[in-house]
């Protein structure tokens, strides 16, 4: 039977197992909305801004590991979606974004709501497609999902001219797809894996440095097994939190600019660095000239272009994380070599001395609500088992430092692009994917205002998200840098004319709370978590001048942290 392009799209999404589609209608996608209206398999979620559609799809993807899907109209719909697409691209999130386009015969004529979506998104997608013939549509969708979810994942855009959604073709959804120019590597080179294992076992001061690739590659269990088999210390990047249980003794916390003293010192002094699914980002390495001066480096990554991009490595292994780690585990089990227990004992002794610095301690007697205290309270009151999304800035770092993630897919933040406004819509995506779970959005009074309109979406769908706003009346991270590096000239970092967030939440039909006394923090948190079916906006009036410590200033090495 022949179907219209719009019907083919919706049927194809169903074939891909898509249950939620985040979008916003407009002229170029009306045929698609009409097709969505006439079925119940794919649930469409109406957001209030296309940026939120992409972030929500992204949050859905990050909390499940499956592709998130967004649908927006042509022109401004597509350009509004670009921030969300770029956010997903920087963090390698599997996502398929369908953008409407003007009629094919009008492309290039400056038609109403026309923009070159393919051109605009090209530098921030894994791939994009302009579908010119309805007969190619089903196969294109299959390819889009295949590309988005395999290899190093990423967003894929499908640009759909309006006439293509009206034209008819036979619907046959392909079972599988092969693309001659795209064959992602799966297994690592066994010779390289053997070399790596030999190097790992000969280490005297080893460390695992692991990133978002472990989460995305579904390799958290293998990482945990391998690290525990060897009793080597583990540090996660911001994107890797949850890839190794944070409450385990072997975990040193996050590394990098706002990482723990013990993680950064262990990195700096290690002799064998085992990097897995991490990309040696500048926020992790600090001054590249001073990075891990004594280390031999092993690097496992599915993307060859991540290897030796910033730091030259000694043993590169291209392959999927769980596959490579399983090989390593088997080789170590089957072999005769064991780690040098005496050297390792010395190493742990040294690491525990660094730990003794207690770099995350803070002033608990100030009489002010401390952001760190709020994060610890959130951790306790959610039993460490919430899905936590965040926006970007100081609150993001505090959440990363103080919420101990034991499982992957629980920590959802814009690490690469650093997109303010990400937190609330991402929380919506996570809540749709996990309707019974606690989803908390840690944010600031700056970030939350960048997608505040989504409070309306949350009301429409009854999303019981807990918004934890650390309100210090400053763009805190900007203020911190201005304090440290611009002699306290606080240019445009003060948030004047803030709304009353309690009333704002209430006007959207939600519960609002303001907490300005440290003694009330735990009680309020407990009360909010009990409101299982309500969105609660918790406006924590925090210490205005609290800074994120420890910190590696620009140009310094990992061993040159500012502690307090």
């Amino acid at each position: 039977m022949e179907l219209t392009g719009a019907e083919i799209l919706v049927r194809s999404l169903k074939e891909e197992g898509v249950t939620h589609l985040f979008g916003y209608p407009g002229g170029a996608v009306l045929h698609i909305y009409d097709a969505l209206y006439q079925q119940e398999d794919v649930k469409h979620i109406l957001v209030r801004h296309e940026q939120a559609a992409t972030h929500a799809a992204d949050g859905y993807a990050r909390s499940t590991g499956n592709a998130g899907v967004a649908l927006v109209t042509s022109g401004p719909g597509a350009t509004n979606a670009v921030t969300g697409i770029a956010t997903a691209y920087m963090d390698s999130i599997p996502m398929v974004v369908i953008t409407g386009q003007v009629f094919s015969n009008m492309i290039g004529n400056d038609a109403f709501q026309e923009v070159d979506s393919i051109g605009i998104t090209r530098p921030c997608v894994k791939h994009n497609f302009l579908v010119k013939d309805v007969a190619d549509l089903a196969e294109t969708i299959k390819k889009a999902f295949y590309i988005a979810t395999t290899g190093r994942p990423g967003p894929v855009v499908i640009d759909l001219p309006k006439d293509v959604t009206a034209n008819k073709a036979e619907f046959n959804y392909p079972d599988k797809v092969s693309i001659r120019s795209y064959n992602p590597v799966v297994s690592g080179h066994i010779g390289q894996i053997k070399r790596a294992v030999t190097m790992m076992l000969s280490a005297r001061r080893p460390i695992f440095y692991t990133g978002g690739g472990v989460v995305l590659g579904r390799g958290a269990a293998e990482l945990t097994e391998l690290a525990q088999q060897l009793n080597y210390p583990v540090t996660n990047t911001l994107m890797g939190l949850g890839a190794y249980p944070a409450t385990d003794q072997q975990f040193l916390g996050m590394l990098g600019m706002h990482g723990t003293y013990e993680a950064n010192m262990t990195m700096h002094h290690c002799d064998v660095l085992i990097a897995i699914g991490a990309r040696f980002d500048d926020r992790v390495t600090g001054n590249i000239e001073k990075f891990c001066p004594h280390a031999k480096i092993i690097h496992v990554d599915i993307d060859p272009s991540s290897i030796s991009k910033n730091v030259k490595v000694d043993v590169p292994i291209v392959g999927s994380v769980p596959n490579v780690l399983r090989e390593m585990i088997a080789l170590i089990k089957g072999g005769n070599s064991k780690p040098d227990e005496i050297a390792l004992g010395e190493w742990w002794k040294q690491i525990n001395e660094w730990r003794g610095t207690e770099c995350l301690k803070y002033d608990e007697q100030s009489g002010k609500v401390k952001p760190q205290q709020v994060m610890e309270s959130l951790y306790r009151e959610t039993n460490g088992d919430a899905f936590v999304t965040s926006d970007v800035g100081q609150h993001q770092m505090w959440a990363a430092q103080y919420y101990k993630f034991d499982k992957p897919y629980r920590w959802i933040n814009s690490g690469g692009l650093g997109t303010m406004g990400f937190g609330l819509p991402a929380a919506m995506g996570a809540q749709f994917a996990h309707p019974d779970a606690t989803v908390a959005c840690v944010t600031g009074e700056g970030s939350i205002q960048m997608c505040i309109q989504e409070l309306s979406t949350c009301l429409q769908y009854g999303l019981p998200i807990k918004i934890i706003a650390l309100n210090n009346r400053y763009l805190g991270m900007v203020r911190q840098w201005q304090e440290f590096f611009y002699d306290g000239r606080y240019a445009m970092s003060y948030m004047e004319a803030l709304p009353d967030f309690v009333k704002l939440a209430e006007s959207y039909g939600h519960v609002g709370m303001r907490i300005d006394n440290p003694a009330d923090v735990d009680g309020a948190m407990e009360e909010a978590m009990k409101l299982k079916n309500r969105l609660v906006f918790m406006d924590f009036v925090t210490d205005q001048e609290e800074n994120v410590y420890p910190m590696i200033p620009a140009g310094a090495g990992l061993n040159e942290m500012i502690l307090v």
């Binding site: 393919i118 051109g119 090209r122 530098p123 001659r180 120019s181 795209y182 272009s305």
Partner: protein
Amino acid sequence: MRHVISILMENEAGALSRVAGLFSARGYNIESLTVAPTEDASLSRMTIVTRGSEEIIEQITKQLNKLIDVVKLVDLSADEHIEREMALIKVKAVGEAREEYKRLADIFNGRIIDVTEASYTIELTDSGDRIIEFIAAIHADEIIEIVRSGVSGIARGEKSLHP
């Protein structure tokens, strides 16, 4: 170091801009770029001449390989290869100069392909270096215009880039 990278890619709209966009977005330099369809109509062949340290060239080839439209690529300069470029050189040709340009074209195996009372257009196909030598042999004031095609390259021997 100068490198000649040869790419086999899907002959699709937008494929060229993906490559060109990659170079500009990542700050890589393009000295020349040529592209045309191959004997297989679904594939295009592109030759890019670029400069960079070994690390940069390694990143360039890895990033190019990551593009979904790129089927295969090779750094031709890593091995024995042939490079050819075509140039069309229009010169003022009056009086004695006419005979002189004829001789010069012969020496360089060029052909005069257009003649007017006051000008010649010379076609020359050779390595980039030879083209530069030829141009250097003409007085700058005598040059009306020069059009160069950019380099096309192919490996020596039986090797090919075909999948």
